[in-house]
């Protein structure tokens, strides 16, 4: 309930480890204390963090001019195979704009058109079919984000990983280049791992 009512990205941070944040004000910890069973909270917040990241990543990626739709056209984030993330994303993008453009979340199923997508998140539920999806996206300016614990696939540009209980991501510059995308160095600076060309 609480997460649904306050879906702001700042609130979506998972509890931080006491090792790295030893000096965090205790009141922050108190604020997080009443969040029910720790496991459930962690699962819920993981989807929330991923949704927030998906949204924030838009600001650090340049799409090629050819893919530029009219200035007022929304940026579309497609979510495949992860309803929890989709639900969080719907809460986040409502009424928000990135680079002065509205952001729209779209839930996809196999076979849906991907023509107007800017970003595609392939959840773990769809990872099995990843090989079937990716060839269709090859060469298209779509930021493909996967959630594969084993690492970046051939065509995914970004991939979520869990490090010490925190959601991080890794980036592939060659994949981005193949898609005609340009990743901001500031994004790469906070990536857990960067695959260089």
């Amino acid at each position: 309930m609480r997460l649904a009512r306050s879906p702001r990205p700042g609130n979506a941070h998972p509890p931080v480890s006491t090792v790295r944040r030893a000096f965090l004000p205790w009141l922050v910890a108190c604020a997080w204390a009443p969040f029910g069973p720790r496991v459930r909270a962690q699962a819920a917040s993981a989807a929330s963090v991923k949704a927030a990241y998906l949204y924030k990543m838009l600001a650090y990626v340049d799409w090629p001019p050819a893919a530029a739709t009219p200035d007022d056209a929304p940026q579309v984030i497609g979510v495949l195979g992860d309803d929890a993330v989709y639900a969080e994303l719907l809460q986040i993008v409502g009424g928000r704009r990135v680079n002065s453009r509205a952001v729209v979340a779209r839930r996809l199923v196999a076979g849906d058109a991907v023509d107007d997508l800017h970003e595609l998140f392939v959840g773990r539920g769809a990872s099995a079919n990843l090989a079937g999806w990716l060839p269709g996206l090859r060469g298209r300016p779509v930021l493909v984000v996967t959630d594969v614990p084993s690492g970046l696939t051939e065509s995914s540009v970004l991939n979520f990983v869990l490090v010490d209980g925190h959601v991080r991501f890794e980036a592939s510059i060659p994949a981005a280049e193949r898609s005609g995308l340009k990743l901001s160095s500031r994004l790469l600076a906070v990536a857990e791992r960067v695959v260089a060309p």
Partner: protein
């Protein structure tokens, strides 16, 4: 040279004080401006730094990467002035922090306050707290906070050292310039003093101080030279007066001695029993004349003395001028006869009433007649006339004698002046007759004038005296002094 040193010191003092004050004033203004602008630029610089850091930290906040944020903040070690820095999340929680070695971390109780604040800075003494919002797409991601030590002392010390050096250098320069300039003031003064010393030593009033400028010193030189001119004139006048006194003494001795020889001779003749009666009479008449001459001479001297000491008192009364002329004529007659002059008297039959001192006016006309007789060759012609015109009586004594050169006509009325220094034919005198006559006439409110065409042209002396008004003519005027 003590005076010169003093002026030099004063000029130097004025220049140095002025320079120092100007330097201090400009240095203070410069320092204040420099500190103010330095502080402003320092704050602006830190704001830029915080802004850059905030921009760089936005992705770290976005993707919750405190490690990257910490690495970013750690770069601040390159700025030793920054003691501590921190990044707070949107809810005020500490996200990343940096503390320079040897400094305390930012106090945590301020976190909420800072997280809620917007861009701005607080300057407290030499400590600057600066906060900068971290935003992206209009969303507040967090807050960047810097605390820096505003260490202005070394800069001020550096500036003071530079300003001190500049002040010292400019003072030295001003001293050099003043040293040259003060010579332009002291040199002419020293020159004036030198000339003054020479004038005193040599009694040479023709010396002049050189004028080198047209300023106050030039005015001093001018005034000094004018004073020398005046001193020279006075010295010359004193010398002339001195010379006249010497001549006067010589003449006085001569004049007093002259009658003594004939008197001695006459006494010897009178002493002889066989002297014929006619000779006795002649001797007595001669002795009488010589005595009169001496009495007149001494009377003149006494009068001069009284006038010059202000002790002369006129016995003023209403009197008939014609009677005075007659008395004078009778008094001088023997001398005129002796020199065989022809005297033409032109007097009106009726009285001419004036207000005056009978004896002194008689003395005036005797002196004028004596003068005419003396400076006219024997057998000359003397006109002694009186007439009235425009309310004044004009008595004219004109002769056809040797006359007076126009260039010295003013001098004949100067005391002890003998225009003719030849002393030939006994034409000598004390030189008091004419000055005395003029002063006596002046005391009567009248005027004595001289008119002579030149040497050999004869002389005319005219005395003007105010007539008594006609309606008073018959009244008896009160005696006055």
């Amino acid at each position: 040279m003590k005076v010169e040193a003093s002026i030099r010191r004063k000029v130097m003092l004025v220049v140095m004080t002025t320079s120092l004050l100007a330097q201090l004033l400009s240095a203070t203004a410069l320092l204040v401006y420099e500190i103010t602008s330095y502080r402003a630029s320092w704050v602006a610089d830190l704001e830029t730094q915080a802004d850059l850091m905030a921009q760089a930290s936005a992705p770290a906040l976005n993707f919750d990467d405190a490690r990257v944020a910490g690495e970013n903040l750690a770069l601040l070690r390159l700025r030793p002035q920054i003691e501590s820095a921190a990044i707070y999340g949107a809810r005020g929680q500490l996200f990343a922090a940096y503390t320079a070695p040897g400094h305390a971390p930012l106090p945590s109780e301020l976190a909420a306050e800072w997280a809620a604040g917007h861009a701005g800075h607080v300057l407290d003494g030499d400590r600057l707290d600066l906060q900068q919002g971290i935003e992206q797409n209009g969303e507040r991601l967090g807050t960047m906070v810097l605390r820096a030590r505003y260490d202005v002392a070394p800069r001020v010390r550096g500036y003071l050292a530079i300003l001190g050096a500049v002040t010292a250098a400019s003072l030295a320069l001003a001293g050099l310039v003043a040293r040259r300039l003060q010579r332009t003031i002291t040199d002419p003064i020293v020159a004036v003093a030198e000339v003054a010393r020479e004038v005193v030593q040599q009694r040479n009033y023709a010396l002049r101080a050189p004028k080198t400028s047209h300023d106050e010193v030039g005015a001093l030189v001018d005034a000094f030279n004018d004073m020398l001119v005046e001193l020279g004139a006075q010295a010359a006048a004193l010398q002339t007066a001195d010379r006249r006194k010497d001549e006067f003494l010589a003449t006085l001795a001569h004049e007093l001695r002259n009658p003594l020889a004939p008197l001695t001779t006459a006494l010897a003749i009178l002493d002889r029993d066989d002297a014929p009666p006619a000779a006795r009479l002649r001797m007595q008449a001669m002795m009488q004349r010589q005595l009169q001459q001496m009495v007149r001479l001494i009377d003149d001297l006494l009068e001069v003395s009284r006038i010059s000491t202000g002790r002369l008192r006129l016995r003023m009364q209403k009197l008939d001028l014609v009677e005075v002329l007659q008395a004078a004529m009778e008094s001088i007659a023997p001398a005129l006869v002796e020199r065989e002059h022809t005297v033409l008297t032109l007097w009106p039959p009726e009285p001419i009433w004036v207000h005056g001192d009978r004896e002194r006016l008689t003395q005036v006309f005797v002196n004028l007649l004596h003068n005419a007789a003396k400076y006219t060759d024997p057998g000359g012609r003397i006109e002694f006339a009186v007439e009235t015109e425009q309310g004044a009586a004009c008595v004219r004594v004109a002769d056809n004698g040797i006359g007076i050169d126009p260039s010295v006509q003013r001098d004949v009325f100067e005391m002890f002046v003998q225009v003719d220094h030849s002393m030939k034919r006994g034409r000598t005198g004390l030189g008091v007759g004419l000055p005395l006559a003029r002063q006596l006439v002046a005391l009567h409110g009248g005027a004595l004038e001289l008119d002579s065409a030149g040497l050999g042209q004869g002389s005319t002396f005219t005395v003007r005296l105010a007539l008594l008004p006609l309606h008073l003519a018959d009244a008896r005027a009160p005696a006055a002094h």
